[in-house]
Amino acid sequence: MSVRERDNIVTPGRNFEERARHAVADPELQRALGNLGQRLFTARDVAHDHGDLKDRAAAIRREVLADLDSWLRRVTSTLESLGVIVHHAATAHDARRIIVGIAHAEGVRTVVKSKSMASEEIELNQAFESAGIRSVETDLGEYIVQVAAERPSHMITPAIHKTLGQIRDVLVKVSGDAIEEDREAITQWARKRLRDEFIAGDMGVTGANFVAADTGTIVLVTNEGNGRLCTTLPRVHVAVVPIEKIVPRFTDVATLLPLLTMTATGQRLTNYLSMITGPRREGEVDGPESLHVVLLDNNRRALLGTPYEEMLACIRCGACLNVCPVYRRVSGHAYDAVYSGPMGKVLTPLLSRGSNGRDLPGASTLCGACTEACPVEIPLADLLVRLRADLRGTGALVGARGSAPPPPEGGVARRERPGEGYPWPLARAPVVTPPPRPPSVRSIMFAVWARVWAAPSGYRISTAAARVAVRTLAPGRRWSTTMPGVTGWTRSRDLPLPAPRSFRDRWAARERGDERW
């Protein structure tokens, strides 16, 4: 399918709010999401009591980010010493060109793919299709999404937005086979079908959950065994590895792996864990003849040294999606992006330099469930607050008066308090495109409001005036069903009106002895 065709499939709407409205009104989707909520809340509970593990994992991730360029050089030389061919892709376009180039050079006709968000990010399937190369997703959820000409709605459970009946219908339509509406029957059918694809595949494409800098080991976590088949049967293996996937030591995997699996699916260990250290060697019976690693930047290094660097600690577990009240109501397609949920709201504008998902940071209640659930302590809610300002081009003057705090060791102010990120003056990240100057009417209105309310009598006089206006227009009423300017509220809820007497008026009356309470 073409890119255009895929774009037509996702939840319709010009912005998040329109797509969300569509998603909330879709009964089949809401039914599918109901199942998600209960299943994945268990996963959160399993992972709840591992504070120390979280701290250690968070520290490992920051150790890499503090000096990512050095770790990149280290992992490159380790991989090359194992006979791995390492490529550096600065952009998604570069990555596509490199990988399609490998496929052409190796005479590849069929690619089998293990689940990889990085390959979604660079839209690799579309690139293969344009190059006339067949590419088959082999994770069952990804396979369903691929044959349905959709995009994954969740990075761990890609087809979670579909009911069992919808899945059966899609598979029947694409194969013409009679398939029962039964989990076991569908899985058995897919297992048989995909077996033929694995055997036909000339090239396996995977992502990587971790790459150890000291041993060059690529760690792949799957539940279906498809990752192992993709990396052992085809003669060529290409791993698309975003640069932040590096861990310093192979032994760090012991810390990160259980945390990943527990927060992702509630499992203490996944069904399949593949550790790949170089291509097939003399005397070995399986594994690819050649192994390529494509280290993907795609605007990641631009985040280093900014508050958004924290986002590169992400291990793609999906925990923030599972606990997000908004995600659980609207599902992934409402975000119209590869990455959805809280992490997607942060990452989408950042990876696109502000050209995509500009309305996503605002589509959050800032409840903080994501920050709380994150196994590597990314302050997701704080980053959403900062992005709201940075995407508007505001915030430059915050904390700018007086001398800046002394630069900390290493030159970059890292987390002052665990999980809370940077003081504001460092929030001015040149990673998103600011809107054109001068300041918007909205910014001016907020500035005036703040100054009036910070003035000695400004608050008292302005609120008293508002009360008189409301009491004149709506005498005797405490709630209103309509209100110009906030129809987004009054369309679905009554709006509380100012009380006849404010608290401060009642306090003053009590002070005078006019009332007693």
């Binding site: 605002g362 300002a389 904390g399 504001w424 509220w489 608290f503 007693r516």
Partner: protein
């Protein structure tokens, strides 16, 4: 208590303007706990609406104003976990470097009401008697930024109220400030989830610690007629205090 604790009330703009009865209840509970309460008249808003709207400069103006207003206080108590959390979580990062220590000092003595009564004063039984069944919605910022979870429940239990926990008491009600206006398509269904979960418990009241969340829930309930009445726990407790003498009579 040998010496009365002196408390400055930060009423919050929502309580001051829209739900003054919550402010009255807060004062009555603090006084029932033996506190001497004052109300610094210069106070306005904590600035959170500006911050979450992507206008941190405006938020910083109000943060500085809050510090100027309250820095002389012994303790600052707000009947809102979210506004108190704004002071704790953001002020030292919003103000200028030379104000940072001042911001931290003020945050260190700023409390949500139940947090102050229970965790600081060690006071759970205020003499209030509540003969009702309630379910508690843990408002997000009080819960996650301040750790307010047990305190309101302890106050309610000591008053004789029966607490029946609902499904997912810690899940957001969908208010979220500007989110409630800009994303009504999601905000209202989240209120419905909360009201439905509360209704399933069969209680008399849905209590919480944030006026804005309660207004969002009540505003929705007035359309759907589902769920128990949302009410601030302070209002419920204060209703159960001995009746105050009418105005003009001698104490």
């Amino acid at each position: 208590m040998s010496e009365a604790a002196r408390v400055s009330l930060f009423a919050t703009c929502v309580v001051d303007q829209v739900m003054p009865e919550t402010g009255v209840a807060t004062v009555r509970l603090l006084e029932a706990a033996g506190c001497t309460v004052d109300f610094p008249a210069a106070q306005s808003c904590c600035g959170q609406p500006a911050l979450s709207a992507g206008e941190p400069e405006a938020a910083a103006v109000l943060a500085r104003h809050f510090l100027d207003t309250f820095e002389g206080s012994d303790a600052i108590v707000a009947p809102s976990g979210s506004c108190a959390a704004m002071v704790h979580h953001w002020y030292d990062r919003l103000v200028d470097p030379f104000d940072r220590e001042r911001a931290r000092a003020v945050a260190g003595k700023t409390y949500e009401l139940a947090q102050y009564l229970v965790d600081v004063l060690g006071c759970t039984d205020l003499g209030a008697r509540v003969d009702a069944a309630v379910t508690v919605h843990d408002a997000c910022h009080g819960l996650r930024n301040l750790g307010v979870k047990a305190a309101p429940r302890l106050l309610l239990e000591a008053s004789g109220a029966t607490i029946v926990e609902m499904v997912e008491p810690e899940t957001c009600c969908g208010f979220g400030g500007t989110f409630a206006v800009e994303h009504g398509a999601v905000s209202a269904p989240l209120a419905d989830d909360k009201l439905t979960h509360a209704a399933e418990t069969g209680v008399d009241y849905l209590v919480s610690s944030d006026g804005a969340c309660l207004a969002h829930l009540e505003g929705r309930r007035r359309r759907t007629h589902t769920g128990p009445e949302p009410v601030h726990y302070a209002v419920l407790l204060a209703r159960g205090l001995p009746v105050p003498l009418p105005a003009g009579t001698a104490p």
